[in-house]
C-alpha cells in the first residue's frame, strides 16, 4: 500500500519535475557552460577556461553585487515594516475592505513595471507633475529627487510591495485568534504578543515574503536605470550590458553565475533554517 502510494507520488511529480528540469535547470547549466568559455571564441570542445571569472574579480564587479544585495536587503526590511500593519489589517481587521485592497494591489501588476516606473519619473522629474506645478504656483523650482540611491530603494519597495504583502497577510491569518487572546489574558503586553505569538506563528509568511522580495530585488535593474539614472549600477544591469553592448557572453554568464550562487545560498540557508512545518506546529 505504502509502496504503491510512493510510486504514484513519483508518477504525479514527474511532469512538473520534467518541466522544471527543462525550464529551470537547463538554462542554468547552459549559462554555467558559457561562463567557462574564453572570450570571443565559441566552441563546444574547448577546455574549461575561467578567465571570465578572473575578469569579474579584477574589474570591480563585486561593487555592483554588493550594491544590489544591500539595496535588496534594505528594500526587504523596509517592506517588512511597512507591510506588517497593512497585512495585519487585511488578515484580521478590514473584512470586506481586504478584497478592495487586494484587487487594487493586484491591478498594479497588470501594468508593466517599466511603465509604472516611468510614471514616477514623470511625476518626480524637474518640470514634472510635482515640481512643474510647484514652480508654476510659487515661482520657485527645486531639484528632482531622482537619480540617486534612495530613490532606487524607493522604486524597489514600490514595485515589490505585493510580493511581501500577500505572503505576510497569509502568514498572519494563520495566527489563531485564541492564542493571541490567551496570551493577552495571561498578562502579555502588545509587544509581548507580537514577539511571542504573532511573529513566530506568522514566520512562514514572513520567510516567504522576505525571500521573494529579496531575490526579486537583488536581480532588479529597471529601478536603477529609470529612477536612479544609473547612479548605482546593479549586477543585473551589468549582466545585460555584458551580453548586449559588451558582446562578452562568458563575462555575462560568469556574473550571472555569481549572482545565482549568492542568492541560491541565501535562499537555501533561509529555507533550511526555517523549518516551515515546525514553525506552524505541524510536526509531530
Amino acid at each position: 500500500m505504502q509502496q504503491r502510494e510512493r510510486r504514484l507520488g513519483l508518477l504525479y511529480a514527474a511532469p512538473l519535475s520534467l518541466f522544471l528540469l527543462l525550464t529551470f535547470l537547463a538554462p542554468i547549466l547552459l549559462v554555467a557552460g558559457f561562463s567557462t568559455m574564453p572570450e570571443k571564441v565559441f566552441s563546444l570542445t574547448q577546455m574549461p577556461d575561467f578567465s571570465a571569472y578572473r575578469t569579474v574579480l579584477e574589474q570591480g564587479y563585486w561593487k555592483s553585487v554588493a550594491w544590489s544585495l544591500f539595496m535588496a536587503l534594505l528594500a526587504t526590511l523596509i517592506l517588512l515594516v511597512i507591510c506588517w500593519p497593512l497585512a495585519y489589517g487585511m488578515a484580521k481587521v478590514f473584512k470586506r475592505f481586504t478584497l478592495v485592497l487586494t484587487i487594487g494591489v493586484v491591478m498594479t501588476l497588470f501594468v508593466s513595471e517599466n511603465i509604472r516606473l516611468f510614471g514616477w519619473v514623470l511625476t518626480l522629474m524637474k518640470g514634472g507633475l510635482i515640481e512643474g506645478y510647484w514652480r508654476y504656483w510659487t515661482g520657485q523650482g527645486f531639484d528632482a529627487p531622482l537619480y540617486n540611491g534612495p530613490i532606487i530603494v524607493f522604486g524597489l519597495v514600490y514595485v515589490y510591495l505585493p510580493f511581501m504583502l500577500f505572503p505576510l497577510a497569509q502568514g498572519i491569518s494563520m495566527v489563531p485568534d485564541d492564542a493571541r487572546q490567551a496570551a493577552y489574558d495571561l498578562g502579555a503586553s502588545r509587544w509581548q504578543i507580537l514577539k511571542e505569538i504573532d511573529l513566530p506563528l506568522a514566520m512562514p509568511g514572513i520567510m516567504v515574503g522576505s525571500l521573494l522580495t529579496f531575490v526579486l530585488a537583488a536581480g532588479a535593474m529597471a529601478e536603477s536605470k529609470l529612477l536612479g539614472g544609473r547612479a548605482i549600477i546593479t549586477i543585473a544591469d551589468e549582466v545585460q550590458t555584458a551580453f548586449t553592448y559588451g558582446q562578452n557572453w562568458p563575462l555575462g554568464s560568469a556574473l550571472a553565475m555569481v549572482l545565482i550562487a549568492i542568492i541560491g545560498t541565501v535562499a537555501i540557508w533561509a529555507i533550511s533554517k526555517a523549518d516551515l512545518d515546525a514553525m506552524m506546529g505541524r510536526k509531530s
Binding site: P176, D178, A179, A182, D185, L186, G187, E196, G281, R282
Partner: protein, 357 residues
C-alpha cells in the same frame, strides 16, 4: 448566603448590548472567596459573553465589576489578576508543554531556572509525567492538553480562574475523570473557580453553587439540592430534570386529588405545583397521600434499577412517574395506575415568581 465574609467578586447591574440585541440584562452576582460556582444555561443565554467581560476581553455596556473591592471592569485583560481556560484551550502550538506552562512567568521576567522548577511542580500537580516538559503540544492527547492548559492557568496564579466549557470536546469517560480532578484541584488550590457548562450533570458534580442563566439573566443561584427541590420557575425546574407541572388556581388543581390537610395548606393559593417523577409512589386503591393522581399507563421505559411510566390522567394531562423496579406496575401499558406524594415533595412556584418565565 450565610457566609458573611466579603465576596471576592461582585458584579453589579452588568449589561451588554450588541447593536440592537441585549445579551446581558443587568446581571448581579456575588462570588465567595474559594467558591466553585457553575454557570449553566442553554445555548445563547449569554454565558460566554459574561465570562469574556469578566476576564476583560469584552467591555460591558453598563454596570460594574469589583474584585476584592477594586473595580476591574475598567482594567485591561492583561492587567487583571484573573485567567481563563478556553474551550479551545488556546495552547501555543509553537511552544513545548514546558514553555506553554511557563509563559505567564516568562512574561513577568522570572528567571529560567525558577520558571522550570515551577513548571515541573505544576506538571506534578496536574499528574502529568515530568518528562512532558519538553514534549510538543501536538504530541499530547486531548486530556493531556487539557491539563497543560490548566497548568498554564495555574502558573499565572490568578485570583479567580474562569472556565468556558473546557470539557465539552472530550469523550464521556475522560470528561468524568477530569471533572473529578478539577473538583480535587479546586480543593487543593483553594482558588475561586467560575465554570461555564452546558451540562447540568457536570455542574452538580463539581460546584458549590449553580447559577442558572436564561436569556441574559440569572434565574436562580443556589446549591444544587436547593435548585432541584425548590426551583423558582418552571424553566429552572425543567432545566434540572424531568418534572410534572399542575396549575393551581385558588387552591384547586385539576387532575390532583388533595387530602384535607393539603387542601387547607394550599387554600387560596395560585401558581404551579411541581412534582419530580421519583418523588411519586404507587398507591393501592384505598391508599392515602396528600396529593394523589389516577390514570392509565401509556408507556414504560426501563432505567436501570428504576422504571419510568408515562400515564394519562382523566383530564388528558400527561404525567411522568418513576418507581423502583420492585414496584413495577402489573399489566404495564394500558393498566390503571394510582400514585401519590406528600405535600412536602410538591413544590409550589407562586404565580408572581414565574411571571418572567
Amino acid at each position: 448566603m450565610t457566609d458573611s465574609s466579603p465576596p471576592i467578586l461582585r458584579i453589579n447591574a452588568l449589561t451588554k448590548t450588541f447593536d440592537d440585541f441585549t445579551a446581558l440584562h443587568g446581571i448581579n452576582l456575588n462570588v465567595r472567596d474559594g467558591e466553585f460556582l457553575a454557570i449553566v444555561g442553554p445555548s445563547g443565554s449569554g454565558k460566554t459573553t459574561l465570562i469574556r467581560i469578566l476576564v476583560g476581553m469584552d467591555e460591558p455596556s453598563d454596570g460594574a465589576v469589583w474584585l476584592r473591592g477594586t473595580r476591574i471592569d475598567v482594567v485591561p485583560a492583561n492587567k487583571r489578576p484573573t485567567c481563563m481556560v478556553f474551550q479551545s484551550l488556546a495552547l501555543f502550538p509553537h511552544r513545548s508543554v514546558g514553555q506553554n506552562i511557563e509563559f505567564p512567568l516568562k512574561l513577568r521576567g522570572v528567571a529560567p531556572a525558577e520558571r522550570k522548577a515551577r513548571a515541573l511542580e505544576l506538571l506534578d500537580t496536574l499528574r502529568l509525567p515530568r518528562d512532558y516538559y519538553s514534549k510538543r503540544i501536538q504530541q499530547c492527547s486531548g486530556g493531556e492538553k487539557q491539563r497543560v492548559a490548566l497548568a498554564r492557568a495555574l502558573a499565572f496564579d490568578p485570583e479567580i480562574l474562569f472556565f468556558d466549557e473546557p470539557l465539552s470536546a472530550l469523550d464521556y469517560r475522560l470528561r468524568k475523570t477530569l471533572e473529578k480532578e478539577l473538583k480535587d484541584l479546586h480543593r487543593r488550590t483553594g482558588k475561586t473557580f467560575i465554570y461555564i457548562t452546558h451540562s447540568l450533570e457536570e455542574a452538580m458534580v463539581m460546584s458549590d453553587r449553580i447559577a442558572i442563566m436564561k436569556a441574559g439573566r440569572f434565574e436562580q443561584i443556589a446549591p444544587a439540592e436547593e435548585i432541584y427541590a425548590r426551583p423558582v420557575s418552571k424553566f429552572v425546574a425543567e432545566f434540572m430534570g424531568e418534572v410534572n407541572f399542575f396549575d393551581l388556581v385558588k387552591g384547586a388543581a385539576p387532575g390532583v386529588a388533595l387530602s384535607a390537610a393539603a387542601s387547607a395548606a394550599l387554600a387560596g393559593q395560585t401558581g404551579t405545583l411541581t412534582i419530580r417523577p421519583e418523588s411519586l409512589r404507587k398507591l393501592t386503591a384505598e391508599g392515602v397521600a396528600d396529593l394523589s393522581f389516577e390514570g392509565i399507563v401509556t408507556a414504560e421505559y426501563l432505567l436501570g434499577s428504576r422504571i419510568q411510566y408515562r400515564m394519562t390522567l382523566a383530564t388528558g394531562q400527561e404525567m411522568i412517574v418513576e418507581v423502583l423496579r420492585e414496584n413495577a406496575v402489573e399489566g404495564g401499558i394500558g393498566a390503571a395506575l394510582r400514585v401519590g406524594c406528600d405535600l412536602s415533595a410538591a413544590h409550589l412556584i407562586a404565580e408572581a415568581a414565574d411571571a418572567a418565565a
